[in-house]
Symmetry: C2
Subunit: 366 residues, 2 copies
Amino acid sequence: MSAVAEPGSLKVAQRVANGGAEATWNAIIQGDARFDRDGVLGRRAEGVDGAGVLSRAAELEIRFVCPGDADWPTVLDTMPATLDAGAEAVPPPFGLWVRGRGSPAGIGPQAVAVVGARAATSYGVRVAADLAADLATLGWTVVSGAAYGIDAAAHRGAMAMAGPTHAVLACGLDIAYPRAHAELLERIAGCGVVISELPPGMKPMRSRFIARNRIIAGLTSGTVVVEAALRSGALSTAHWAVKLGREVMVVPGPVTSQQSAGCHEWARNKGATLVTDAAEVVDAAGRLGVDAVSAPVGENRPLDRFRPEERDVYERMPAYAPVTVSELAECSGYSVPFVEASLRKLAGGGLVAEHDDGWARVPLAV
Amino acid sequence: MSAVAEPGSLKVAQRVANGGAEATWNAIIQGDARFDRDGVLGRRAEGVDGAGVLSRAAELEIRFVCPGDADWPTVLDTMPATLDAGAEAVPPPFGLWVRGRGSPAGIGPQAVAVVGARAATSYGVRVAADLAADLATLGWTVVSGAAYGIDAAAHRGAMAMAGPTHAVLACGLDIAYPRAHAELLERIAGCGVVISELPPGMKPMRSRFIARNRIIAGLTSGTVVVEAALRSGALSTAHWAVKLGREVMVVPGPVTSQQSAGCHEWARNKGATLVTDAAEVVDAAGRLGVDAVSAPVGENRPLDRFRPEERDVYERMPAYAPVTVSELAECSGYSVPFVEASLRKLAGGGLVAEHDDGWARVPLAV
């Protein structure tokens, strides 16, 4: 059936949800005109060599997992085949082809999608790799699509930290797509899994990429878009994440970069959370109270360890010219002895220095 | 009195608000112990050579404006000297020293502060200059602090488009601070004004910079922080803008840049609006319905002008390999004639091309 029904077919997903996969298959091969009205599924089923697909899969160590199997990622069961009027359905897959030493089972709570533009900038590639590496270090699984640019950088970053990473493809797992990533896909299969809804032999198509993206969104508790132009296809995974109620995160970048414009637009107008590092991703996508990390704060300033009055003395010193103790006492309202004592304490902290013509601030590192 | 009371003194501002400036001055010089408890103001008043300050100001063409004067920026009258319990007051200035060919009167509704780090990156300097230039083109006035880095870039960008720009200093207007910006300050005075609460002769101090920033926030309908490290002093103007109920905007930048970390933090956790160009600044800071501009959209895609079914044919084509008309009809469910007609229309739009072994997509510019 996975060789017959196009990934993301709502009609098939709803039939499976209502009557089960076997009944759906029977409806297809028996030519049930109420279900397969134009007969397209029936005609495709006639042309499928099921035994051939299975032997090809076995040969390449590609296994098929479906709901109920030990390897099945149960997080996908939350994808809604039907929804109340007004909302959109996100057809769950009825099975997945899987290749690799890892397992997709148990994925979800601590998994995040890291996706973005194929035509990524060097900035985006660096950020995606660093983010994925840091997420792997924090124990998170990185899921992506093995495409050029951001996707590949995310997989590589996670593997650099020996973290598991999974790739979801829009074609059969016998096809390395893109071809230049054949070795990358082998490496991913060596530590995680490569996943597809499509059986061996099926080619990538634009509609299949879009359907594939709902699996990437569905397998994870959030999607991070590292770089995307306005209306870029790279945002399709984010759209699915929204429909699935998963967290959508975007990485900011230079406003001069078109490849960050889609990220900024989503932060501004579509409710995406701005994230700048792995801790913030975990904070947004993590289960509340379990993975939450504290908000970033600036480094402690040298001035922080002085009393408010001593800091005030410091703040009342001219920015660039020396000042005498009596001048400073006059303008600050503090007594001469207090100003002098404060200056000596501040000097001990390296904040001020005494010169021939008075006291001056030592420039702070900005 | 401006030579005696420190800028931002809440005590003085409240007394002026309640009893007027003249009564406040009398309380100071008569040694009213209920008002000037430690006698600091009185002692400073004794040391001030009022006539000398005024003649020095006249010599340098520095004028003093106060509420009620034609030149007074009435937007400052909305700064609250007193607030209900729990909220903080933002002491309004009781007068400003002004130098330059422009006037601060009428500033506010279409004025925006563009501020940020002194240790700006080349990215920040470029963005600040471009933003200010575009704001000037849209008829907006750019206010800043004439400091190194972002401030100077903002003034220069506005003046490059012959837009008015005003600088607010933390010292007397006889002092060029920073010294290297003496020429910049002259240029600003040639088209806008340079403003200070402090009379000629007063030196810049850290506390005066902080007080100065409330004037920058108060003169404008919003503050844009272009670059700021976490807890940077450059965020002080943003803090004042929040207290004044003005819009706070931040420009995103590379997550690898510490000078953008403060901006990202404010967008994430302090409710600042992310802005990436002048139109978005006008959108956020402009009066609703008057200056609002539309949200950005991606450029029209070549595919947009085809019918949904034709786009669907395109989307079902393999991403990298040619496909025959009959294959495509089979997998898409459309008839052979319809697929063929759609392909010819798509070819006319440059989206697909016919080859010896079938039809293939022409790569789209990303």
